[in-house]
Symmetry: C2
Subunit: 287 residues, 2 copies
Amino acid sequence: MKPLDDNWFTEPCEEAGAAFSLHIQRKLHEEQSPFQKIEVYETTHFGNLLVIDGFVMLSGRDNFLYHEMMAHPVLYAHAAPKRVAIIGGGDCGTLREVLRHPEVERVAQIDIDERVTRVSEQYFPELCESNQDPRAELLFDDGIKWMQQAPAGSLDVIIVDSTDPVGPGEVLFSEGFFRACHRALDQGGLIVQQSESPLLHIEILRDMHRRMGGAGFDQTRTLFYPQSVYPSGWWSATLARKGALIEGFREQDVQNRPFETRYYNADIHRAAFAMPEFFRKELAGLS
Amino acid sequence: MKPLDDNWFTEPCEEAGAAFSLHIQRKLHEEQSPFQKIEVYETTHFGNLLVIDGFVMLSGRDNFLYHEMMAHPVLYAHAAPKRVAIIGGGDCGTLREVLRHPEVERVAQIDIDERVTRVSEQYFPELCESNQDPRAELLFDDGIKWMQQAPAGSLDVIIVDSTDPVGPGEVLFSEGFFRACHRALDQGGLIVQQSESPLLHIEILRDMHRRMGGAGFDQTRTLFYPQSVYPSGWWSATLARKGALIEGFREQDVQNRPFETRYYNADIHRAAFAMPEFFRKELAGLS
């Protein structure tokens, strides 16, 4: 076994003693924005790779898994998702999926770093193909402040497409932020947030459920899906609903959806909510 | 980004331009058996690690995912699984899960390399804790020959717990082998076989479905589950049934199972069969 040479990008996950590497052709871009270090690589088999502060954000090959699962389950779980906010999401891949839904009337995307979006427009044009949609408003600002100032009851769906809960992303996992989201949501409104690896980060998941409940949401549920380029290859998103349960979704609308998907469908919607036994026991300990 | 040092075990997956690494404390064992090179490492966060010919076979931390999914769905899909054969599976983790089922009357495990079992007894004693069960027969022999010589209709369930379809493992993915399995199974009998990564090996999966159908099985279905230490972190197993459909399972028995699981339960059983959209389209092209 010889170590990988310089033609690989490696992200070690210290807290798991594991690392994931992709074979690269070359570095396409590197800059220090006012907020973070942004890099783009061309890989041999995974398309282009976006890296922020050394952490893999997405690859051209497998981002469809994450982006579809951040957008479609929550939108089809809502009866009429007209007003949507995306916190983070600067690569615009989630925004693209959200805008595929004809029910959506407007989407505000609030990412603090405009450079992520500009770099994505250049190196991931397919993710940015809907950025000019008149329903979309791209704001480059503090998402937490934006949420605190949003009029009460003014949103149907909030998507928190954030980085890990370390450093600047940490406050997005706090009960205070969830309270601001709860206030901004209308009755029946839903929030979904990326919630790390079920195998590696069970404490983060447990805390999210507890804090979302503490913030006043009526029910919380976690979605499970594969994501090769993230630690452990297994990822999750956690939903919470205001004034209603999460059960059920517009299945007929999923069947008749006016757009193509690569991962999501009605069977996957149901399946993604199935709780592994260890997770079920972990959450049972909460109540 | 500096490359990983010598304290990491790395498995590159050439055909995907990706690699997975685990931080190791030390090498516990290395030998060249008559069939392959067997290594065991102690990792910092994933327990002990079994490596054969440079490929990760299992870790102490996440093997429960694979072993539970290789054993429980197929056994609960059968009305009365009394006679079971495991081809490969020398680490005995699948065998342990199979023997948890009180309905099982005998299990023949046929692995060509006795050294894998002996090394596992030493470094993964938890996986081998049922090896002395009087219902279990551990044979160290050629599994393909064994299957060809098995009396027709003598088995209820076949579990093919094999390596990748390269080198000696390749014949286990052939239509000829599936024909031998079909012959050895009783009416209503089921086979399940590990079937690689849905993201990376769609051709292998498609070929398996085609060949199982060609061998006379009435229906084929694929199970999807996470497996961090395998390429892409997303893995699969493919089932086929003789003389019946795969739909349905003994759900009441799953609810009342007399043993603990960490991943598997009735919801996971149903969910694991959900086909990602790209996979559904791929298989639709078969008929």
